[in-house]
Amino acid sequence: MLVQYMIVSALLIAIGATGVMIKRNFMIVLMSLEIMINGAGMLLIVMAYYLGNVSGQVMFLFVAAVAASETAVGLAIAVMMYKRKGSVDINDFSMLKK
């Protein structure tokens, strides 16, 4: 079963990475980031189970806390850009270009 769990985790990471690269809506990019972080956290839990060491489960607590902070800052950036540009399309996020 270890290989199947790792494949599910790899699928989540790959789907999240593809979503970050492919989507135009910044809100969905943030959601894809969450999925990616969750895939990595799931691998920690899988290894905690199969190695018989609870440290992986403790690490997941830290991963969850950092993911929550990242979402808060990302949403703040989205709100700021929406106030300036009136859109959350990432192609409009080019303030630093000129």
Binding site: M6, S32, A48, V66
Partner: protein, 168 residues
């Protein structure tokens, strides 16, 4: 029996992830994301990580999904839905994602560890929460405090970024 439950949960999880990437409406994407998180919580229960399963439901499926949905609620719905689905060159991104998947899958298939300890040392008196608390406050106390500081800094950063006169 265990394999059947695993495959059902895996299909829910991966299907939810695909739904997030494929859907154009961000509100539907948020609901797909909640489905993914619930599926992952089910997988955590199968891995004897009951505390983390509940944490997943409360923090991810509860707090983060609601936070994203509330942020989208204050924006213009027609404006959000009018954004195109994919970037102008989606094929390259999809190929890169497939490459990441192939890389990780090869690693997973070649990975060999000693499985004699599988499922042991995960609970004290049948309680996973007690074991996590024991390890967290005996061995990981300093990282725990650092996590508190990270949360505080993120809170301040969010407040500063959304202040009104940041544009001047």
């Amino acid at each position: 029996m265990e394999a059947i439950v695993f495959y059902i949960l895996a299909i829910i999880t991966v299907g939810g992830g695909l739904g997030v990437v494929i859907s154009q409406n961000p509100f539907r994407a948020a609901l797909w994301m909640v489905l993914t998180f619930v599926g992952i919580a089910g997988l955590f229960v199968m891995l004897h990580a009951q505390f983390n399963a509940m944490l997943q439901l409360i923090v991810y499926a509860g707090a983060i999904a609601i936070m994203i949905a509330l942020t989208m609620m204050v924006m213009d719905r027609r404006n959000l839905n009018a954004i195109g689905r994919f970037n102008p060159q989606p094929l390259w991104a999809a190929m890169f994602g497939a490459g990441i998947l192939a890389d990780l899958a090869v690693l997973a298939l070649k990975f060999k560890i000693d499985l004699s300890n599988a499922g042991k040392n995960l609970a004290i008196d049948g309680s996973n929460t007690k074991m996590i608390g024991d390890v967290l406050f005996k061995h990981y106390l300093f990282p725990f405090e650092i996590t508190a500081i990270i949360l505080l800094v993120a809170l301040l950063g969010a407040v500063v970024l959304t202040k009104k006169d940041i544009n001047q």
